[in-house]
Amino acid sequence: MNAAPTDVIESEAASTAESRIKRAPLVLNKRNFSWITERISGVVEQPAPRWWWVCFSITGSIAMFGLFCLGYQISTGVGTWGLNHPVGWAWDITNFVFWIGIGHAGTLISAILYLLRQRWRTSINRSAEAMTLFAVMCAAIFPGVHVGRVWMAWYLAPVWNNYGIWPNFRSPLMWDVFAVSTYFTVSVLFWYTGLIPDLATLRDRATTKIKKFLFGVFACGWRGSNRNWRHYEMAYLLLAGLSTPLVLSVHSVVSFDFATSILPTWHTTIFPPYFVAGAIFGGFAMVLTLLIPARAIFKLHDIITPQHIDKMAKIILLTGSFVSYAYTMEFFVAWYSGNAYERFAFWNRVLGPYWWYWWTGMLFCNVLSPQLFWFRWCRRNILVVYFVCMCVNAGMWFERFIIIVGGLHRDFIPSAWGIFIPTWVDIWTFIGTLGIFTSLFLLFIRFLPMIAMSEVKIVLPEADAHAASPNGHHPVAADGRERT
């Protein structure tokens, strides 16, 4: 008799519980598919705005001067850099580790967050992957030219040559060659695979014959067929699955360059996870550095929402905490090991000639500034987020400098001590790579869709083919897989 009222109450309770756990939409203001296409394709299709030419001429000039410095260094010799005994690795390898680390955030977003079914990644993955490619390009410059005789760099490749000489495959430097080149190649393949459906969108919207031809060639004749999507999604999943261990391996291998040596502060087993966490930490700061202005300029607030920035800030806080833990552990282990050289090296880090690098770079920028992200207000305030990201960008460069030069400049005996002073070539080569990086990113947002349209469309409610089904159930595939 009273079964019916109970049912009503139960179903009401269920519906309120459901609405309570309802998630904030990933695309705001109930935008539809064609709005997404229009807004994102519009960035590419409209003529370049004036600010773009201003920015590009500045960054392009800096990039050209950086290339001039590289040419000068190659034609004159490594002596144009400030490195000398005992500091044989300085800004060059600092810059290499800095840039390669920045790339890691792009792969984390595109691969790891995909495997973890984080649907919010769709708004940011394309530009983050592009950032990865450009950062790895900048990174590759430094080990390439610091070998000294650049024209001999091909000896790094295992190629049958006249002298019968082969590389030492047991060397971490050799692992690095393979890790970085594989990382770049796989990132390009992953990025291009993701671009194909969006290139087809641009092809179908092209107004001139040249654009239609070029987008047509690069879109490979994509026509959104489900028989194609089936293989495409499997390829995308597998590329994500391959990139995930790859990205972890790359910075681990970079850290082996140091960790397999016997230098105090370098010879430590904590380096691989410490470096990977630091890479993601620094990389996310760079993603936000690029996306916050892009979002404001192109009015992408409905696609890159405060929720996205909030989540990225949380990842910065998380990885920043890993890094802070690693810094603390280094000091603890130096004390606990009882090794006089190790203890000295860490005292020297805090109080030695490079003391202010540690206090500002590592302590203030990397450990303290991300703590602001414990507060929701800070994560939602664009200026605070931007300030912290700038701190982290700088702090991660200083961290690598402290590890590399800090470890080298105080050798085991004081007679071999030295100090590193950068030359103008050192400084401008690094600034030049900042120019190369930003120029490439500006070209990217000008010529390619900076947001993955086909992926953002999936997170709209109307993309769900089952929401409107009569009994309202939400079937998952037989294997329990849910598409992101």
Partner: protein, 184 residues
């Protein structure tokens, strides 16, 4: 099959208003027993493979083969020189079989590299891409398939295809703008 105007017929297409209606239509066409047909959408629709009666993509097998070939290549490239052509002693460190773990990073990288290439080329080859032109592009409405349009096309090559039956089926499944798509 040709139209009265002499065009070769590729198939018959219909447009659907939403992802959900395309999903329901696909189930109807599948149950009607058609084999040569396809749906087109701006994004992959969840559950569409089952609705079309398609199984798992075996692209993964190609990627596995790619990975194995990468691993074998790395073994050859590393051990060939290091244990045969050019035995290196560095810093007086050991160089016997116990040093095998030092070869693992490059084996891992090569495995990933070859797998990724296999995935990339397999997705193109298994999809018959690049294919710059396709009869479906003759349909003027079809450019919306990469924007916000949802399409279903039954090919004339399908043994069950007759103009009447295909049209009736597409109408029954809620298709709009039903039309014959020309081959040329």
């Amino acid at each position: 099959m040709r139209t009265p105007t002499g065009h070769e017929v590729y198939g018959m297409g219909a447009e659907y208003p939403s992802a959900a209606s395309l999903y329901e239509a696909a189930k109807i066409v599948r149950d009607a027993g058609f084999k040569r047909w396809d749906v087109h959408s701006p994004f992959p629709i969840h559950g569409m493979d089952e609705a079309m009666g398609l199984g798992k993509s075996w692209l993964s097998a190609v990627v596995l083969a790619g990975g194995i070939s990468g691993l074998l290549t790395a073994i050859l490239v590393e051990f060939g020189p290091s244990w045969g052509l050019y035995r290196l002693v560095v810093h007086g460190k050991p160089y016997d079989w116990k040093t095998v773990p030092a070869f693992f990073p490059i084996m891992f990288e090569m495995t990933v590299l070859f797998s990724a290439f296999a995935a990339f080329f397999a997705v193109l080859i298994m999809n018959g891409l690049p294919r710059p032109h396709h009869p479906i592009f003759n349909w003027d409405r079809f450019s919306r398939a990469t924007n916000d349009g949802f399409f279903l096309v039954i090919e004339a090559r399908d043994p069950r295809f007759t103009e009447l039956e295909a049209r009736e089926l597409l109408e029954r499944s809620g298709g709009q703008h039903i039309t014959i798509v020309h081959e040329d």
